[in-house]
């Protein structure tokens, strides 16, 4: 059950997992519980929560107000993640909408769920059948009911609090209640729902990976409103919790271990991966099963980088789909000042969301949307605006208060369709700290998304009127939402997909690529719960496969 380590630093395990985020950690924990030896290789460092919290408090005002959730996280110089303040140029973005794909993710033990809102949504059943139902996009090779038990297991693993009243569920098809009932709403959520729901916008409680009571030795959420960039008290689910649980079960986690090469045998089974340690020494990890769960950018980057004689287009890439079909919930924002105080910022960062436009016949023509009521304190933007007005003294204080308690920020998500030209490739000129090729990303959105934007903008105008909004603004260029999907797409046919319904690659019988990469449709809801569910389904598949080795 223990990983074997050799004097030269090499290792051997039943299962080798590359990436210690939510997906890799859940799989490792399950397999360790099944008495398998499991090694996790994580490119980045271990983090200290208190240090990151203090880094946030020490970050300058401008960066905080610009939602810089990356700079506070230490990085390994050998495992770069994107930074924007100033830009570190790790990713080169091209294409008409390249500027809408500035993704932030964390390369460290525990992965990107160190900073997220912990919104734990399920896809709708129809989302698995976009082609069949709406004639656009792709169908999944599995159905919602195939994934439903795994959604339940993922919710349990992450300690999700969600509405058990079916009228507030989206979707309502579920076989088990949520582990905890919904996070209670603050005044702002309640008032917004009262105002918009009679008009069909359907504000519902967001299922969240936190609880208002202690949950399995995690403290109750205390509403310190800092979910992104980091939960100071560990009440919010961070994958580091699962990493710790996995380590307690005997999983070996090697931090600052950057995988760069993959060996395959004559049957195209993966036999080993190679990694650089922090001193740039190369080591080899052999295993019976391999999972690569580095997120939908780093996974294809590794697969392309690891092209070998047998797999010249990249590992798992006979289909030439690795890195393609990149999607994110490209989105935009709407801000205004309401005519009544809503006091947003009390409680966790996101607690309610308008899902009325999440589905409908229109999806054959244009993108669905969801509208999140951001519950992040408006003090920062209010202060920026009030200072710009040149106010001083009492007038300034009152204006900041006025803009804070009346201010609203809505975050709108749209649904891009998988398109082969939206892809990650390896740069031929730019390299990272280890000399490995940095990623180039091309991203272009079509009219499906633009028409979806127009429809959403109309809905927003109406919503603004319902609040007698002043200073009503809608951003016109699309921003990223860190939900990378599609780049190792799932399908029946090895000619146009990378993995099957268990996230197992068509090309290599003992290699799995779970996470956002396999997702054939984006829907409009945050992808993490679906990724975790796919991870657990993948874990079952790995477990079955190891029994036959």
């Amino acid at each position: 059950m223990s990983v074997r380590r050799f004097n030269n630093g090499d290792a051997d395990a039943d299962l080798v997992v590359v990436g210690s985020g939510v997906v890799g950690a859940l799989i490792a924990e399950q397999l360790a519980g099944a008495q398998r030896s499991v090694l996790i290789l994580e490119a980045g460092p271990r983090l200290d929560r208190a240090q990151v919290v203090e880094n946030w408090r020490n970050l300058n005002f401008q960066q905080r107000v610009s939602s810089d959730y990356q700079s506070l996280y230490p990085q390994s110089p050998l495992a770069t993640a994107p930074l924007e303040f100033p830009p570190n140029g790790y990713v080169l973005l091209t294409g008409k909408d390249g500027d809408s794909f500035h993704q932030g993710y964390i390369r460290a033990v525990g992965g990107t769920t160190w900073h997220w809102a912990a919104s734990c949504w399920r896809h709708l059943p129809v989302d698995f059948r976009m082609r069949a139902n709406y004639g656009v996009g792709r169908d999944w090779p599995i159905s919602y009911s195939d994934l439903e038990p795994y959604y339940c297991r993922a919710e349990e693993a992450m300690g999700v609090s969600g509405p058990n009243d079916p009228a507030m569920q989206s979707p309502a098809e579920r076989s088990r209640p949520y582990p905890n009932d919904m996070i209670p709403w603050a005044h702002g959520d309640t008032r917004v729902a009262q105002i918009v729901n009679p008009h069909g916008y359907r504000s519902v409680p967001i299922p969240q990976g936190r609880a208002v009571r202690p949950w399995k030795n995690r403290p109750a959420c205390c509403g310190n409103n800092n979910c992104q960039p980091i939960c100071p008290i560990g009440a919010m689910y961070n994958a580091i919790h699962t990493v710790q649980a996995a380590e307690a079960k005997g999983v070996t986690v090697l931090a600052e271990s950057v995988v760069y090469a993959i060996d395959t045998d004559t049957n195209n089974r993966v036999t080993a991966v190679h990694w650089y340690d922090r001193n740039r020494q190369s080591h080899r990890a052999t295993g019976r099963a391999f999972v690569i769960a580095c997120n939908a950018l780093e996974t294809p980057r590794l697969l392309l980088m690891a092209a070998n004689a047998q797999n010249p287009r990249g590992i798992a890439n006979r289909s030439d789909q690795v890195g393609r079909n990149l999607m994110d919930h490209s989105g935009f924002h709407c801000t205004f000042l309401a005519s009544e105080p809503l006091w947003l910022g009390r409680g966790p960062a996101q607690s309610s969301c308008l899902v009325g436009a999440r589905d409908g016949a229109f999806r054959s023509e244009y993108s669905a949307n969801k509208i999140i009521l951001n519950n992040i304190s408006r003090v920062g933007p209010a202060t920026q605006q009030a200072l710009k007005l040149g106010l001083t003294g009492t007038a300034l204080r009152e204006e900041i208060r006025r803009r804070t308690i009346h201010g609203v920020d809505l975050s709108i998500s749209l649904e891009p369709l998988p398109a082969p030209q939206n892809r990650l490739t390896l740069s031929k000129t730019r390299h990272d700290g280890l000399g490995l090729p940095s990623p180039d990303i091309n991203y272009e959105l079509d009219d499906y998304v633009h028409r979806g934007y127009d429809a959403a903008a109309q809905q927003l105008r109406h919503i603004g009127d319902l609040f007698n909004a002043v200073e009503f603004e809608v951003t016109t260029s699309l921003n990223a939402n860190n939900h990378m999907m599609g780049s190792t797409i799932m399908g029946f046919d090895p000619k146009d997909s990378v993995v099957d319904g268990d996230c197992r690659t068509h090309d290599h019988p003992n290699l799995w690529l779970p996470g956002g990469g396999p997702m054939p449709s984006a829907s409009v809801v945050n992808s993490t719960l679906t990724m975790a569910a796919l991870g657990l389904r993948c874990a079952d598949s790995v477990q079955r496969a190891l029994e036959h080795v």
Partner: protein, 189 residues
């Protein structure tokens, strides 16, 4: 708990209460001003800060750090702040101060001092220095209903209680907004 104290200095007459003190300081400082055009005595800076920000009680330790940070900024800022101080000592309220400051071409400097106190960050762009987070005055304006992020305002589910009374009038329609606004670089979700 400096950052948690609720707002008390609302009315003009409270500000005017500073006048005797200000006048006294003015009288004391008159003789030293001629020799002290660049250096800003800490007490005078605190007085200036109180007037500009509208808070009668500013954190003295923070005042020291903030003043130092301002003085370390671009030299023009340091000099401007130094020239503001006597204007502050002579002014009877923040509006008068700003009028006089602008007339003297020191409006920007005054706003820089205010921005530093309210945001806790001195400077902008490439040269910034953070001097405060929770103690930044912006958080005090709403401390009765919001804590600075990373701090709890109560135990679990404290936020279901009704928020405090607004205490300010609702927003009025402002000037027309620019047609296009670029998206932020950071990712809010």
């Amino acid at each position: 708990m400096a950052y948690r104290n609720s707002v008390t200095l609302h009315r003009r007459r409270d500000v005017l209460a500073l006048v005797p003190t200000a006048a006294l300081c003015f009288w004391l400082r008159q003789t030293s001003l001629a020799a002290d055009t660049v250096a800003t005595p800490p007490d005078a800076f605190v007085l200036l800060s109180k007037l500009l920000t509208g808070f009668p009680d500013v954190n003295p330790e923070l005042a020291i750090r903030l003043r130092e940070a301002l003085l370390n900024m671009v030299p023009a800022t340091a000099q401007a702040v130094a020239r503001l101080v006597p204007i502050g000592l002579r002014a009877s309220d923040d509006s008068t101060l700003m009028i006089t400051a602008r007339d003297a071409g020191l409006g920007e400097a005054a706003l820089a001092v205010i921005a530093a106190w309210y945001t806790g960050t001195v400077g902008s762009g490439a040269h910034t220095e953070v001097v405060a987070y929770a103690d930044a005055l912006m958080y005090r304006t709403v401390a009765d209903g919001l804590a600075p992020p990373t701090y709890a305002l109560g135990g679990a589910a404290w936020w279901v209680a009704a928020p405090p009374p607004a205490g300010v009038s609702p927003p009025m329609a402002g000037p027309a907004q620019p047609a296009r606004r670029p998206a932020r670089r950071g990712n809010p979700t």
